[in-house]
């Protein structure tokens, strides 16, 4: 009798649990719109890892990959909003206007737009990551590991996000090695393995022995591996594509945020906000450090990581000068988010001009 009671109690608990999970899963459905294929091992791949985390938390998800930022984006969004999805994540900047347009028509559906700035309706939120914090770490490593004192940097588009990354990287590298120069090649693409590899090769030919990238494919680290120089993985851990070249990667970790926001919809606590999370909140993650790095550098990097996370260190701490020698941030001050969001000037030590 006793056993029976316990057993039925346990089984009813299990049943209750399954029912609750099932109820939650049935209630909220999340959709994700991707710019590229889920197998790009960069930007879209990491968003899809985040989506899988939402699935693992017991929610149903849908995704549409390779959605161009042309007139097609609006149709895909409307179709997702129309087919029972409660929250839609649009994961590329070019979806900003369609997201706001469709959000107006579907006030009961929540929209989350990555990397944008328009929140025209109460059901639109925006989110982005402080990738520049990761670049502070990469700059520290690059400045220490370079022998030629020339660091190559493959950039995508001259927008604040990318300029900020170049600056943060260069400032950190200068701190450990005042003689370094950062050479930039603008690829004018986010994802084009051919172009990216060419850009990397041009930089290596100019004497760069460490290559950083702000584009998404694995072509650059593979080119670095072939040329015998160092590189850093972008968006996902790219170590397996170039085990000798990749010293570490900066990973975009969207999972926790996605789970959080989908749960907020389920609990009815979702509200509009603008999120900008960094290492401290776990949205930016540093992969394992390569054993080619000397142990004192490794411990330095780990400490820097902890200090960035706690806020003890800020990537943009004065004095910071621009290329012409004008003061951008005074000594002892740090750049505020407004300045970071609109950053369109290089700091001292970066070579060349921003394409206009």
């Amino acid at each position: 009798m006793h056993k029976f009671l316990i057993r039925s109690f346990v089984s009813s608990l299990v049943l209750l649990f399954t029912l609750t999970v099932a109820a939650v899963a049935k209630d909220v459905k999340a959709a994700f719109v991707y710019i590229g294929p889920t197998g790009d091992h960069g930007w879209t791949y990491q968003h899809d890892v985040g989506r899988k985390a939402v699935e693992a938390a017991g929610f149903k998800t849908t995704y549409v990959e390779g959605v161009p930022e042309s007139a097609d984006a609006e149709r895909v969004l409307r179709q997702l909003a129309n087919s029972g999805h409660d929250i839609i994540f649009t994961t590329s900047f070019g979806y900003m206007n369609p997201t706001n347009k469709v959000a107006k028509e579907f006030p009961n559906v929540k929209f989350e737009h990555a990397t944008g700035y328009k929140r025209e309706h109460p059901n639109v939120a925006t989110y982005a990551a402080r990738f520049y914090e990761g670049r502070t770490i990469l700059g520290t490593i690059a400045g220490t590991m370079t022998k030629s004192n020339v660091i190559g940097y493959v950039a995508s588009f001259p927008i604040p996000e990318v300029i900020r990354g170049i600056n943060s990287f260069t400032l950190a590298a200068q701190k450990v090695n005042p003689n370094i120069k950062t050479k930039i090649v603008w690829a004018f693409t986010w994802y084009d393995p051919g172009k990216e590899a060419e850009a990397a090769k041009a930089l290596i030919d100019q004497g760069a022995d460490v290559i950083a990238q702000h584009t998404d494919s694995t072509a650059i680290v593979q080119m670095a591996e072939k040329a015998g120089v160092y590189a850093f993985g972008q968006a996902s851990d790219m170590d397996k594509f170039a085990p000798k070249a990749v010293l570490t990667s900066v990973e975009n970790n969207w999972g926790p945020y996605y789970v959080d926001r989908v749960k907020a919809v389920a609990n009815g606590t979702w509200s509009q906000k603008d999120t900008w999370h960094g290492i401290g909140d776990g949205m930016v993650v540093i992969s394992g450090l390569d054993s080619q790095m000397p142990s004192d550098l490794q411990s330095k990097v780990k400490k820097l990581q902890a200090d960035l996370a706690s806020g003890k260190v800020h990537s943009f701490t004065g004095p910071i000068y621009d290329q012409k020698g004008n003061l951008m941030v005074a000594e002892g001050k740090t750049a505020d988010d407004g300045m970071l969001a609109g950053m369109m000037t290089y700091v001292k030590g970066v070579e060349g001009d921003i394409p206009k």
């Binding site: 549409v64 990959e65 042309s70 007139a71 900047f93 588009f157 927008i159 609109g342």
Partner: protein
Amino acid sequence: MIKIVKRDQPSKAIFFFTPVLAIFLTLIAGGIIFYILGFKPFEALKFFFIVPIADKYGFSELLLKATPLCLIAIGLSFCFKSNNWNIGAEGQLTFGAIVSGGVALLFYDQEGFYILPIVILAGAIGGMIYASIPAILKTYFNTNEILVSLMLVYVSKLILDYLVVGPWSNPEGFNFPETRQFSDSARLPLLFEGLRIHAGIFLALAAVVISWFVFYKTYLGFQMKVSGFSLKTAKYAGYKGKKMIILVFLISGACAGLAGVGEITGPIGQLHREVSPDYGFTAIIVAFLGRLHPVGIIFASLVVAITYLGAETAQIFLQIPKYTGQVFQGMILFFLLASDYLLFFKFKFIDSKK
């Protein structure tokens, strides 16, 4: 024994039948692919070809998608009929969008009935200017128009990149690669409340009617046809080949430019890096699937448009990878070219005992 012999003359019935056959074979092959991927073939095909256009909204989206394809393909058929291989409609579309977008941006804070006609005209002229480059190089320097027009596609995209990143980027847009939104006076009017289908469809329909008239009722159409069959004959007949080459390129460029106008002043409303998901290239499939016939092109543009919509629906509801849409477009072209074999050859049954 079966022997394959050349036909004396291509059969007219088979000429119009093979596109239908190609679509049929594509459906069968598509079903097989879905089966191999582990989906129910009929269900998948239903979500691909029927569900997306089952309601009013879906059907309007089909027309929206087919409009630029039809317009460009009509223009291309002028070139293809007369043996001019303009592969660069995507570039002409992009350049047309650049010119008309530039004009629309001049009027960004103004309203007025005169703005839209200027913007449309600018797009057509932009496309014509861009198409004239391969045409002039071909007529006067004997260059290969396939290479020149194709390469110019990439040039046009780089020009667009440069403009939206630099001088034309929205001053209030945090330097993101996009322009301001156009004023309402520079936008093509919508035909129905709540649907995105816009007045650009009338441009496409006008192009259909005009091209039919030119192809079948004018001396120019006859010249194009003769040149298409044999350039030597055309020369012998004393046709002015150079003039015609330039003319068909200009027409083709104007159509592509107008398609660009339709995209940016219709659903998009601004210039950014991606004004067209390669309509200029897909329209080549449309032109051939439609047999370079204006009415055929209407049907072909609808068929190809649905592969785009179907790919989205299939991914949303069945998680079939969206890139299968491109597989379908490729298969249609492949089966069309393969079944064209039947046009020129026939199977003859021969008694092998003899």
